[in-house]
Symmetry: C2
Subunit: 207 residues, 2 copies
DNA sequence: ACCAGTTTGTTCATACTAGCACAAGCGCGC
DNA sequence: GCGCGCTTGTGCTAGTATGAACAAACTGGT
């Protein structure tokens, strides 16, 4: 019912991609309808939470029937602005960067890797995942030309901040940082972090 | 002051590794003392939150002085049970699994990759990151012999659940899952998820 | 047409989380 | 020795998140 997007809590926004992922799996499985209860069991959360999260954006279900899988899938894609393919660049062509550049899981989830950059002269020019590694010097021009707003940082920690500065100056608005360090960026640039060791360490507390 | 570890909120435990990471960086930089305020600015959170989080486990600071970097670092390592090296296996020797197996960032943060597994006959026997790829059939014996409790799943989504079942049956207690799917495991097994696309999709909402 | 079985969207109460603000404690300089 | 500046640990308050519960609504069968 409420559509004032400015009031949606960040934590709710963070769950929408999870719902989208589950719906995508159901869609692939040929399922036509689902319910908040089924989704909840699937994801290990409460059904009330799913219904309340969705209610921030509109009324997508029907009493007695539940949700159309494809219908809700499309709604969530629109809400998350994923009804288009966003270009995405990767800075850092080491082990992780190369693996991510070769990852085929982006294409059908809203993103397309269009550029791969590294400062190591021995890597520049190499072909990885169908892309040619370019020098970091090319980043500003490339970002401007391709209207790219998403970037992933996969360089060693000591270079991550300076890469982030380059990306911000180039106009990047969303950074996914694989380096185990906190980045300093302006408020209008979004940053998310991935550090597998953090997750392992957290679980180790309970062992 | 409170030491009843059973009452520490999960969200607090999740922040401890972040503090540990920052302290490690400060230690490398030769810094001897720090304060909750400095840590807070470094990490972009409030100083009160840091002090309160730490207060769940004891009193580690001194008024007027702050915290000894090395002292707090060691305390957190003990709290998280990271004052030892935990063996860790990786199932899935594809792009991501290979990259993670070659990642050198585990060794000084409490973990050591001791095994790499895959079901693809063309990969078994290959050398990746100093490890020989073994068949998934070897997992139960290997886990038992090496007393391993941590595992990472880097196989395609459609195989992730069956790999998880094998791991659980083998005695693994903590799973870090890279496959974009929710796993079903017993309550005494901990699971954490890494899916870069989830982070990208969340940020795209705000663009 | 009506009833039984489902499921939604929302209300309400409870639980949790975050940060302000302050007393107590420590160190340094005079 | 004393006072000033700084920092911790914690009580308290305000804000946020969660889940139980229910009225309204839809479907299918009789």
């Amino acid at each position: 019912m409420a559509l004032d997007q400015h009031e949606v809590p960040d934590i709710v926004v963070g769950r929408l991609p999870v719902y989208l992922r589950a719906l995508s799996a159901m869609k692939s499985g040929g399922k036509q309808y689902t319910s908040s209860h089924e989704l909840a069991e699937w994801l290990g959360i409460s059904s009330a939470q799913i219904r309340k999260d969705l209610s921030h954006f509109g009324e997508f279900g029907k009493q007695g029937t539940g949700y159309s899988v494809i219908g809700l899938y499309d709604e969530l894609r629109q809400i998350l602005h994923l009804d288009q393919d966003w270009p995405l660049i990767i800075v850092g062509a080491g082990n992780i960067g190369s693996a991510v550049a070769s990852y085929t899981g982006f294409s059908h989830r809203g993103f397309r890797v269009v550029g791969l950059f590294d400062n190591d002269p021995t890597k520049i020019g190499a072909q990885i995942g169908g892309l040619t590694v370019q020098s970091n010097n090319e980043i500003p021009q490339f970002v401007a030309d391709s209207h790219t707003q998403h970037a992933m940082i996969t360089v060693p920690a000591q270079y991550a901040q300076q890469v982030a500065d380059i990306l911000v100056a180039s106009g990047i608005k969303a950074i996914l940082n694989y380096a185990p360090i906190n980045l300093n960026v302006p408020h209008n640039v979004h940053v998310e972090y991935i550090d597998p060791v953090l997750h392992l360490q957290k679980m180790t507390y309970y062992l």
